[in-house]
């Protein structure tokens, strides 16, 4: 026993180097139990597509490990040689997974299943493409929309134009006009600049990219980025600092009828478009005002993110995994799911506020056939803002260190929010960390190919 254990661990080996030939063209019907990590069906949009996909995959028993993907659990599952058959990740994790050899290139999968990549949103496909190979099948597109409490705005003599980001000084002023404190503690958040997540949005609105187009050079210490961060942090500082705002935000009933807008404790914030749906469902009578997030020139802008299906190295049945991914993301699946949602909303007497699928074809059909163009206000504004934002998205360029890159700038923002560092210093440090990670990852990547 001892000897065996010692012999087994005698020299550390990689588990990922067994034959690289992966067969995506299934002969006959793929069968057996297939596991999926990181995906939960949740609402109609998930359920309908899931049911449809599992029906088509006869003989396959799909088992879901629900909840957001836990990177640690996923990577150690791959490392230990018993990965799930399919993984559902954020698109900005795909590069890191690919560069660690944790997931497989899907070019053959795309060919074998006839996935029409042209139908997808371009930025989404770009995010999961490296050196010409696709590593993930994208789904959903998240874009930001300005959401505001119309009552609070009008009481302060403001409009949504003051908080849509087009004029930073106006937002700063609006924040101070909208916020309230009671007995030393914050009782109304004026404006929530949604740090650290939305730094790329604020930077891009000022014309700065965090990462060069080829995905190799970090640009986190550019003056525009520093200014954007200083401004966004200033929003929190004016309200007693980020900890106070975050504490207040954490205790709110984000998904329920007691959400911050419905209870009048939040003036305005940019937020991903799916929250429109939450608001419409949980507090349809909240006094809302919507607009896109805008640049100083008045153009809409949004930082696109979303999910993607990827096949882990060591997947027992990549063909079935690939087919499942195709079935989940094809146009018909989305249209059926959207139909189900629209029906359900109609039954409840609510507005169907649309869905951004990451599939252009599906988006167009859904908008044309199912989304109203004369919905009662403010929801029509919300719908228009969402589609306007969706047409004006940008994404961080694909790179093999995307997860580390995100960690670097998010940590920097957190250090500023915590009061540990000044924006310029924090971003300079992040620049070094990010560039180091990028250099290492690209070096490994270039070496392998």
């Amino acid at each position: 026993m001892v000897v065996a254990a010692l012999a087994l661990t005698g020299c550390a080996q990689g588990t990922g180097d067994e034959g690289a030939d992966v067969d995506f063209s299934a002969d006959g019907s793929p069968s057996g139990e297939r596991s999926v990590m990181g995906f939960g069906t949740g609402d109609e949009i998930g359920e309908v597509r899931y049911d449809r996909a599992t029906q088509d995959l006869e003989g396959v028993d799909v088992r879901l490990a629900e909840g957001e993907l836990d990177i640690q659990a996923f990577l150690s599952a791959v490392a230990s040689g018993n990965p799930p058959d399919l993984v559902y990740a954020n698109r900005d994790q795909i590069g890191t997974f690919a560069s660690r050899d944790a997931i497989l290139p899907l070019d053959e999968c795309v060919d074998a299943e006839g996935v029409d990549l042209d139908a997808f949103v371009d930025t989404a496909v770009e995010q999961v493409t490296f050196d010409g190979s696709v590593y993930g099948i994208p789904e959903f597109n998240q874009v930001q929309v300005t959401m505001a409490n119309a009552d609070l705005l009008s009481a302060a003599g403001l409009t949504v134009d003051d908080v849509n980001g087009s004029d930073r000084d106006a937002v700063t002023a609006a924040n101070e006009a909208l916020m309230r404190t009671a007995g030393g503690t914050l009782s109304v958040i004026g404006f929530d600049s949604k740090l650290p997540e939305f730094l790329p949005l604020w930077a891009k609105a000022a014309g700065a990219d965090l990462l060069s187009e080829d995905g190799r050079t970090a640009q986190l210490d550019a003056p525009e980025v520093v200014e954007a961060l200083e401004w966004a942090v200033g929003i929190y500082d004016a309200q007693g600092g980020f900890p106070a705002v975050k504490t207040y935000r954490d205790s709110a009933d984000f998904f329920g009828a007691g959400n911050q807008f419905a209870t009048g404790v939040l003036g305005a914030m940019p937020m991903e478009q799916w929250y429109i749906n939450v608001l419409n469902e949980s507090s349809p009578d909240a006094p809302m005002a919507f607009d896109a997030v805008r640049t100083p020139g008045g153009d809409a802008i949004a930082f696109a993110s979303g999910s993607a299906w990827a096949v882990p190295r060591g997947s027992e049945n990549p063909a079935a995994a690939c087919r499942f991914a195709r079935l989940m993301t094809e146009t018909d699946a989305w249209v059926q799911a959207a139909q189900a949602r629209a029906d359900a909303r109609a039954q409840d007497g609510l507005v169907f506020t649309g869905v951004l699928t990451g599939n252009e074809e599906a988006d167009e059909q859904i908008r044309a056939d199912l989304v109203p163009d004369d919905a009662p206000q403010p929801w029509q504004d919300a719908i228009d803002a969402m589609y306007e934002a969706n047409d004006a998205t940008f994404a961080l360029p694909a790179n093999p260190a995307d997860n580390e890159f995100e960690t670097a700038w998010q940590d920097a923002v957190n250090r500023v929010l915590n009061g540990q560092q000044e924006p310029a210093d924090a971003l300079a440090q992040a620049q070094d960390e990010a560039q180091q990670a990028l250099d290492d990852a690209w070096a490994r990547w270039d070496e392998e190919d």
Partner: protein, 319 residues
């Protein structure tokens, strides 16, 4: 190797010369000496002092017990009232228990945890008793240094061996199963070896001499005489390890990836990630799952209360 008990483990104090109550009273493994009568101050001053002491104790008790009552109470409140800090819920609801049961495979997680806990505690009790007996009963050259090595491993921070141990289980293909959570307990744990050896050392010698004359072998003397005589210590070991194993988070984090294999603390962590801060801020789900994770331990405590309290007291006096 084995779960670090969250109870204090004896230090390998350089002095190691503390008296040993068990050895001092070989016939009993019973409770510590009865409480010494309070200092004999007299009159009103004494009464006043006692009132102050009692008040302080009651205050401390509130501080210790209230958080658990708060948690229990919050689990019966609707989402909007979780933070209202009322001890008695304004709106009493069982919805949270229904929700959490639907959101997460709690029964499965509880079942997994019971399996791991029973295996871990059972195995460590048996193996540690064997080893402790080996050190207590026999005399052989090198025993002292070898036992010193046992004590030294107690000081070893678990973090040092965390990664190689993971790689061993990985090579054996057992990562992703619950085996790494209990199989290490086959090989005894230094802390329990130390504890049980103390109890074995306190046993009277007569029964063993008699048994030997009757022709009993080593195994029989261990199994038929030593084990029954030390049952309280074995129960203590089982309870300590059961608590340590049930509440462990780090190893389930390292070894379990699929939510169907989670133990309940690992599952609770997943629920915190999903419903806590940074997630969907549905605190009532997290609160309710916390109650479900904690309750079995409270029950275990009341079942083995005497063992727990006396066991902890003993560990300290044996440093």
């Amino acid at each position: 190797m084995t779960t670090a008990p969250s109870f204090p483990r004896p230090a390998v104090s350089g002095a190691g010369a503390a008296t040993d109550p068990a050895a001092g009273t070989p016939e009993t493994l019973g409770p510590p000496p009865p409480a010494r009568p309070a200092p004999s101050a007299r009159g009103p001053r004494r009464r006043w002092l006692r009132a102050v002491v009692l008040a302080a104790l009651v205050l401390a008790t509130v501080a210790f017990v209230y958080p658990l009552l708060w948690l229990l109470s919050a689990s019966f409140k609707p989402r909007a009232e979780v933070f209202d800090n009322r001890l008695v819920p304004r709106t009493f609801t069982l919805d949270n228990y229904v929700t959490v049961w639907q959101e997460a495979p709690l029964a499965l997680w509880l079942g997994n945890t019971v399996v791991v806990t029973v295996l871990a505690a059972g195995l460590v009790t048996v193996s540690s008793a064997l080893v402790a007996w080996g050190f207590a009963f026999f005399r052989f050259r090198g025993r002292g240094p070898l036992f010193g090595l046992v004590l030294a491993t107690m000081m070893l921070p678990g973090a040092v061996t965390m990664i190689p141990t993971f790689l061993i289980w990985n090579q054996l293909g057992l990562v992703g199963t619950n085996v790494p959570l209990w199989a290490g307990n086959l090989f005894a744990s230094a802390f329990y070896v130390f504890l049980l050896r103390q109890f074995f050392l306190g046993l009277p010698r007569e029964p063993f001499e008699a048994a030997r004359l009757d022709g009993a072998n080593n195994w029989q003397m261990f199994w038929r005489i030593a084990v029954p005589l030390c049952r309280p210590a074995l129960v203590l070991t089982f309870l300590f390890e059961a608590q340590a194993s049930w509440t462990d988070l780090m190893r389930p984090l390292i070894y379990l990836q699929d939510s169907s294999t989670f133990t309940i603390p690992r599952g609770l962590k997943a629920l915190i990630d999903q419903f806590g801060p940074g997630g969907e801020s549905q605190w009532e789900v997290v609160v309710t799952a916390s109650v479900i994770t904690t309750l079995p331990m409270i029950l275990l405590f009341f079942l083995g209360q005497r063992h727990f309290v006396e066991g902890v007291a003993t560990t300290g006096s044996k440093g």
